[in-house]
Symmetry: C2
Subunit: 201 residues, 2 copies
């Protein structure tokens, strides 16, 4: 007997350096969930593939979709638009496929505010963050080649993002990569047991 359930929409936020993108990609690579691909109006960079990294579309096409209400969430960043199409998510959820989204805190707010019942039933949100400010600084400093003011700005932005963690249902304090992934995967395994997503109750 197959369990008839609708999919999970797992939103993952966190400051840069938290390892959230790696977690999401690995979950998708292991076939546990679909990694939701965003649309963007920015030009593709070397090595980026259309439909994998992003759907690269024109500003006109993007604006048309905005006015049609086709986006689950979207934002303008440094003059470029980024957004996730509702269809990109809903079609998967309906057939019981889990979807994972690497999303910033503003995007997560938009998804939470979406009044589509399928989205609300599917929604699970997680904030990934380093255990201490020292650890955050270490991760943001990277190879140590950046100017002091660049690092300070990144740190300020990261701390601003981190302030949002209490809005989330789950929080993961990052440890080793394997530990983090073990907890992350446990979260999706547990969510699959939720009675609220079973069909024909």
């Amino acid at each position: 007997m197959t369990i008839e359930r609708t999919g999970i929409l797992l939103l993952v936020s966190g400051p840069s350096g938290s390892g959230k993108t790696t977690l999401c990609r690995r979950l998708a690579d292991e076939g546990e969930a679909i990694y939701s691909t965003s649309c963007t109006t920015r030009p593709s960079r070397e090595g980026e593939r259309d439909g994998h990294d992003y759907y690269f579309i024109s500003r006109e096409a993007f604006e048309q979709k905005v006015s049609n209400g086709e986006f689950l969430e979207y934002a303008e960043v440094h003059g470029n638009f980024y957004g996730t199409l509702k269809t990109e998510v809903l079609n998967h959820l309906a057939v019981g496929t889990d979807v994972v989204m690497d999303i910033d805190v503003q995007g997560a707010d938009q998804v939470r505010d979406c009044d589509d019942t399928s989205i609300q039933v599917a929604l699970v949100d997680l904030f990934v963050m380093p255990q201490t400010e020292d650890e955050l600084l270490k991760r943001l400093t990277g190879r140590g080649s950046d100017a002091q003011e660049v690092i300070e700005l990144r740190m300020k932005n990261a701390l601003g993002e981190i302030d949002n963690w209490p809005k989330y249902t789950y929080r993961l304090l990052s440890d080793t990569r394997e530990q983090d992934y073990h907890q992350f995967k446990s979260l999706i395994i547990a969510e699959r047991l939720k009675v609220s997503r079973l069909k024909n109750l």
Copy 2:
């Protein structure tokens, strides 16, 4: 940095033969949670240890505790009382220790109705059941030494219990022992990430 959180109170229900007791015991044996020990007025059986299997207390002592409101849940079964003391649970939760309770559906109802905030924050409920009625029958039949009417009565009782699964937040359809335990443990790992149980928000 230690995560400051209060403990989880994991209620596990299911028909006999679902393997719920084995799951709870194993979680406790691995040191992941404390197995909540009930009080009972029935005499101890060969091999049962006071304070491990049950706290064996007199009917007078039990009734006194009932009138003091000391029980989180209690019931009379075949003339004997069984119940879980609030202190047995609350003391562990306060220091961040997770507690697992193997509990019938009526007991779970009583815990859900408890208006103590610490209990409500801690509460997670899971229903464990076989995937099909055939599988249930197989598990209830056991060694095949029981009379037909005994098996029929067990089957009727089990089906009556199973009707209650939609009241639970999580449902586990049992598969192999290892698969079941993997999902069960994932549930507690995921619940430990819940923001609602972190202190000093």
